[in-house]
């Protein structure tokens, strides 16, 4: 008896708290994300208090951001492009591709739509805006097609190519703003286009706050894309492709086709975001038209974590950050301060995702030591589906491509 009691006591003493690594858990990941968001909000609130010393001015900033009739309108206007530029990142991420090119596709869409409005002004008012939207989608998709073809057929890293093509497109737009499109003719000094004709401007929903009807188009598109991804065969196939090359090959999904469609759709949506910004509230093409929404869309999509509801909520969150930043700017807060907030948010989110693989558990020490032995020094995972298949499956792929 006494020996038995001693051995149970020994076994209990061998139990200890240990960190165990397993599969990433979406639930824990969301928990970390929410903690990160609250931490960042608390941090920025503290920063605002420290920067704007007078409490009454702080009150003015917050009232301008949240409590005036116009503030709600501004908030929605700022959020509108985020829905679409975030979708432009989220859809390719489902198939394991990084679309960093939302910014370029945004401008490609806006550029082609501006051209459409200038060249086909005589089109009846009812047709001009739909035509511009189609032109914008086409422009965005075509600009996305270059890195997509290079990725799918030549295995060119799409992160770098889309990032580089963004800058190319901004210079392309700047080139068109010097010359016939220029505001005030070709002798004007500033880099902005002529105002687009009134029949090419979206009607305002709420004149006082400048709320345009673009948000309806953006939300309808977001809902359609969300439903399509959730219920269609394509949506399921894209999840299979994203789960890894082996899964997709085994289930017979045509990987290239799914990846192409996802990237082109992403480009088209970013292009539409550009058109909405153009026809909704800017009315002219400028190099600052996007206000970095193409890049900020990446942050929205990442924070949304592959969920359309998350995407809508996070668009609202980023729009809030940008709005408070804009209003605080008039009281001495640096205009780029919102970028710090969003950068920290991205960083904490990445950390949370990494930490979500770990669990603190109470384990027997023997299990712990065997676990540690099994966990080798280094292992590498692909960031995308490329090369993650088993060697035998390469043969299957070759056979599939041949047949």
């Amino acid at each position: 008896m006494s020996t038995g009691a001693a051995s149970t006591a020994a076994r209990q003493s061998r139990k200890s708290w240990t960190v165990v690594r397993g599969a990433p858990s979406p639930k824990r990941s969301w928990a970390y994300r929410i903690v990160a968001i609250f931490a960042v909000i608390a941090g920025s609130a503290l920063y605002l208090v420290l920067t704007i010393h007078q409490p009454d001015i702080l009150g003015v900033v917050l009232r301008e951001s949240f409590a005036t009739p116009a503030s709600l309108d501004e908030w929605v206007v700022l959020a509108t492009p985020f829905f679409l530029t975030a979708l432009a990142v989220l859809i390719p991420l489902r198939v394991g591709l990084w679309n960093i090119g939302g910014e370029g596709q945004f401008f490609a869409g806006a550029w082609l739509a501006t051209g459409f409005a200038f060249w086909l002004t005589h089109l009846t008012g009812g047709l001009l805006i739909p035509g511009m939207l189609v032109a914008g989608a086409l422009g965005g998709a075509l600009w996305a097609a270059i890195p997509t073809l290079a990725r799918v057929y030549l295995n060119v890293n799409e992160i770098i190519s889309t990032l580089m093509l963004n800058v190319v497109m901004v210079f392309w737009v700047a080139y068109w703003l010097v010359g016939s499109w220029q505001y005030g003719g070709s002798t004007g000094g500033t880099l902005q286009s002529r105002i687009i004709p009134t029949q090419a401007q979206l009607p305002l929903l709420h004149v006082a706050g400048g709320l345009d009807s673009g948000v309806i188009i953006a939300l309808v598109l977001t809902a359609l894309v969300g439903l399509y991804l959730h219920y269609s065969t394509f949506g399921y196939q894209s999840l299979l492709v994203g789960s890894g090359r082996a899964v997709a090959l085994y289930t017979g999904v045509r990987i290239r086709r799914v990846q192409m469609i996802s990237m082109l759709a992403a480009g088209a949506l970013a292009g539409v975001a550009g058109v909405l910004q153009l026809t909704g509230n800017s009315y002219q093409l400028t190099p600052g038209l996007s206000n970095n929404t193409g890049y900020l869309g990446i942050a929205v999509a990442i924070l949304a974590g592959n969920s359309i509801w998350g995407l809508v909520v996070m668009s609202g969150l980023l729009s809030t950050i940008m709005l408070v930043g804009q209003n605080a700017q008039m009281y001495g807060v640096s205009s780029d301060a919102p970028f710090i907030v969003i950068g920290v948010l991205l960083l904490l989110n990445a950390l949370g995702d990494a930490l979500s693989q770990y669990r603190v558990m109470r384990l027997d020490r023997r299990d712990v030591s065997s676990e540690a032995e099994g966990d080798d020094l280094v292992e590498a995972e692909g960031h995308s589906t490329a090369g993650s298949g088993a060697p035998g499956l390469e043969m299957v792929r070759d056979a599939l491509e041949a047949g």
Partner: protein, 310 residues
């Protein structure tokens, strides 16, 4: 008068920050770590460099502090998440850019457009001082320019001819084998070279603001961080080719500035596009060569998540 010689000198001066930042980025990418936020890193180096120079009146100390600030900044924002917590690399890269953009403006708010003197850094090359045309072209430069143009040769030697360099490449090509087969402490090596990357990125930014521009202004880098990224790809990850890439793109920057003065038939916007377009074209060319069975130019584990214990 001396248009050619002066433009040549100006191009080398413009190429220097590109070359320094690209060399730093090459160190990171050789070990498989791609940092897309060089722009933010350079901005942090630039603002630190200017602030320290204004307070101490010593551009050397400013450059050093800018470089050290870059190393510390990249280690905290990029190195620890990517290497220690094993996150993927794109988001921390963007965080480096965003936070650098915002934080540099915040720190530099009170120092905006205050000019910095850096004449003490200018060094004359002893032999070349007496040769007429060459003297104007490469004779009188701040010392970091010479450092930047010699550095890639040292890096090429390090990577190609030393055991240390082979180990670096091994980590970038196949981290699992580097650790288990060669017994390299992958995590420590990668952290160290994130620091090196940050050091040169910060140095590049500090050089740009303190020496080349001579003042801090918001977004003083104006996209040079992205050109530096393009330079690394353009050089296809070969250290000596960084010089070619940086000199070429530095020359393009000067051509854009000269613009109408030369009355070139090509619009300046197209010249500005070229570094980025060139990088994409080079990527495609190397991929086509890769399909023909030649070795890929990029380190195999570039952008890949690596788990390591030590």
């Amino acid at each position: 008068m001396h248009t050619f010689e002066l433009s040549f000198a100006a191009a080398l001066l413009a190429a220097t920050p590109l070359l320094l930042a690209a060399t730093g980025e090459l160190f990171g990418e050789i070990l498989g770590m791609m940092n897309v936020g060089i722009e933010g890193l350079m901005l942090m180096g630039a603002v630190t460099g200017v602030i320290v120079t204004l307070h101490t009146n010593s551009p050397e100390l400013g450059l050093l502090c800018g470089a050290l600030a870059g190393a510390a900044y990249l280690l905290v924002v990029y190195g620890i998440p990517v290497v220690v917590f094993m996150t993927e690399q794109v988001l921390p890269g963007f965080a480096v850019w965003f936070i650098g953009l915002g934080l540099s403006q915040l720190l530099g708010n009170n120092y905006e457009n205050t000019s910095v003197s850096s004449s003490s850094t200018v060094v004359g090359l002893p032999g070349i001082d007496r040769i007429p045309v060459i003297r104007e072209m490469i004779g009188h430069f701040p010392w970091p320019v010479y450092v930047a143009f010699v550095l890639p040769f040292g890096v090429a030697w390090l990577l190609g001819h030393t055991r240390h360099g082979r180990n670096m490449r091994a980590i970038g090509e196949n981290p699992a084998t580097a650790a288990t087969g060669a017994g390299i402490a992958v995590m420590r090596w990668r952290l160290f070279y994130v620091g090196v990357n940050g050091f040169f990125g910060g140095f590049a930014g500090a050089f740009l603001a303190v020496v080349a521009v001579g003042a801090w202004g918001p977004d003083v880098t104006a996209g040079r961080g992205f050109i530096a990224l393009a330079v690394v790809i353009f050089s296809a990850w070969r250290a000596r080719w960084l010089i070619v890439g940086a000199a070429f793109f530095g020359g393009l920057l000067i051509l854009v500035e000269l613009g109408g003065a030369l009355a070139w038939p090509i619009p300046p916007d197209f010249l500005s596009m070229f570094p980025y377009l060139g990088a994409v074209i080079v990527l495609v060319i190397w991929s086509i060569r890769g399909r023909r069975g030649e070795l890929s130019a990029a380190p195999t584990s570039l952008g890949v998540r690596v788990m390591s214990r030590r």
